[in-house]
Symmetry: C2
DNA sequence: CTGTTAGCGCTTTCAC
DNA sequence: GTGAAAGCGCTAACAG
């Protein structure tokens, strides 16, 4: 292993000079800088991460905290794109990423406090925002920088990266109204999520404008309960003309149910959902969906936490990522053949 | 920050004694051990990761390398479950996980060599095995422990965690034969993947036994090309009775195509695929699928790399994870209504 | 069984 | 603009 001393010796300077070159210190002559740099390259010198962390107490690593009680949440394509975005921006700025998941909440809490006192991590990205929780309090109390991907519940001084879900829902609903729908159903994932609340809010806003009542039903990610609900609707001849789902996963299950009940999309009934991905793009049939740009959410989250860790001045705590509606056959007007 | 010296002072022992207690050294009296332990808890002492890494040259961290050129691969639910399995086993044994992805291959190579010389990582898990590649060579050349999730191409002395894909494909094909199918189509993801080759092999084996010819078609993850292929089959009245796809993603696209072409599953045509997940479970319609237990793959990968890093003796380099067929409506015998 | 000591590789005063 | 020296928190000989 080649150390800073080896480089110093080979370049005929002291270790501290080499260190200064590495850290970009400007009080150094061009001649020595060039010499040291070339020796570094020649010897293929790589600074020792642990040694640097020990003395600076900065690990140049960000921790990613996920809440993933169940498979459905974890496998949601949304989260993977966010992660990819985070990786991208962190790597570009020389930061590593440590990820974990826990099935039990206490475990992850324990782990977070470990990471903090280890000096293993300089800051955190939280990939959820359900309600103000222990972990967030823990971080605040240790004065640990963190950003939240999602809706910040209490503290407006916490950087949060989010879409404007109310507006996105308004746009989507408005579009569905514009193509002639009058009978709406909103299928929401239950669990008191802020995103879901916002999307419902936007949906309701537009329906209120239209003087329509907003039909909203809450479901777990459960095939059977959704199926029996629709069975019930069919029997009572109470099917809506269009169904909005609060998330891709719910949409996926819904389509499976509709298939079994032999309700054809878009001729018998139409569908639209939030969170565009390959899942919606290649669904049966392809779904009209709101693209929330999860990769961008991740990138901005990465950039923001790094800004914060570097103690740069933050102007805007509320980073809003744009959304757009992708129109597909699931809401296409088609003349019935019969 | 509370250090090992603080603990030592408070417990009236030397730092090295505390260190010994932490590392579970047995040459220590029960009395001191108990005392030190209680002081540690009282002061909420957390060992400093960087300091320990610096002196032991072991970071207790494993690096996870993914190849993720495109979105489809990355979002494959398979990989997420594998990751969850890895996290689980690593955490259980006190190891952290650093993950990265790169869109460009050179970048990831650079990063790997950084991680190695940083002493930031003690071992690697490779989440791919396409062909023997630069990264694997790099690791071998640095004498870095690593395991591969997937098929090991050259070196049989490398630990690899995999399913028996040949056998799994044989089982699935045998099952499809048993329910009366005689006209098979295998839709394979192109790209020269070892998994795909194995699955095709198993498929072909059984069809050979049945004295049938195996129809195999290779496709990119491309909706249009698959659609026009099936369009062609319809026109020539050459539809198979069942379609096996080499992977969930391909299956997902296939179902979308069949939906558009108004081919109903399972009445008009039947389908089955590899890699069970929520995607297949809640597909339209739910798919018969081979569960390859990705979470187990991940867990075993984690356990294996830790074994390797601890220089424990390895007996079995070929860890085979069992598979099982989940039968669902996509291959259900249904009397045609007409 | 326990303490003393040296040192891991780096940064950072403090001199000059 | 550069060097010498101290020390980050820990472990690992080496004594005893």
């Amino acid at each position: 292993m080649v150390t800073i001393k080896d480089v110093a010796k080979a370049a005929n300077v002291s270790p501290s000079t080499v260190s200064r070159v590495i850290s970009g210190n400007n009080r150094i002559s061009d001649t020595t800088r060039v010499k040291v740099l070339s020796v570094m390259k020649e010897l293929d010198y790589q600074p020792n991460h642990a040694a640097r962390t020990l003395v600076t107490k900065q690990s140049n690593t960000v921790g990613i905290i996920q809440k993933s009680e169940n498979k459905e949440t974890r496998q949601n394509p949304f989260i993977i794109d966010v992660l990819a975005g985070i990786y991208k921006s962190c790597k570009a700025q020389g930061y590593a990423t440590i990820s974990t998941t826990s099935e039990q909440y206490e475990n992850i809490e324990l782990e977070v406090s470990h990471m903090i006192s280890y000096h293993a991590v300089d800051g955190f990205i939280l990939l959820y925002s359900k309600e103000n929780d222990m972990i967030e309090q823990l971080l605040a109390q240790h004065n640990m920088p963190y950003v939240v991907v999602g809706n910040p519940l209490l503290d407006q001084q916490v950087i949060h990266i989010d879409n404007n879900n109310v507006e996105a829902a308004e746009q989507l609903t408005r579009y569905l109204v514009s193509i002639g729908h009058t009978n709406f159903l909103f299928l929401a994932e239950c669990g008191n999520y802020e995103v879901v609340k916002d999307r419902i809010k936007g949906f309701s806003n537009i329906l209120k404008q239209q003087k329509q009542t907003a039909l909203i039903e809450y479901f777990d990610m459960n095939y059977q309960s959704i199926k029996s609900y629709f069975h019930h609707l069919i029997i009572h001849n109470a099917l809506p003309s269009v169904i909005i789902t609060s998330d891709t996963m719910l949409n996926h299950i819904l389509l499976s149910v509709l298939y079994e009940l032999q309700l054809h999309v878009p001729t018998d009934i139409q569908t639209a959902t939030f969170n565009d991905s390959y899942l919606t793009e290649f669904a049966a049939p392809p779904q009209t969906a709101v693209d929330i740009h999860p990769d961008l959410l991740g990138e901005v989250a990465g950039d923001s936490i790094i800004q914060l860790m570097r103690r740069e001045h933050i102007i805007n705590f509320n980073k809003v990522i744009p959304t757009e509606i992708i129109k597909r056959v699931s809401t296409q007007l088609i003349k019935r053949e019969q």
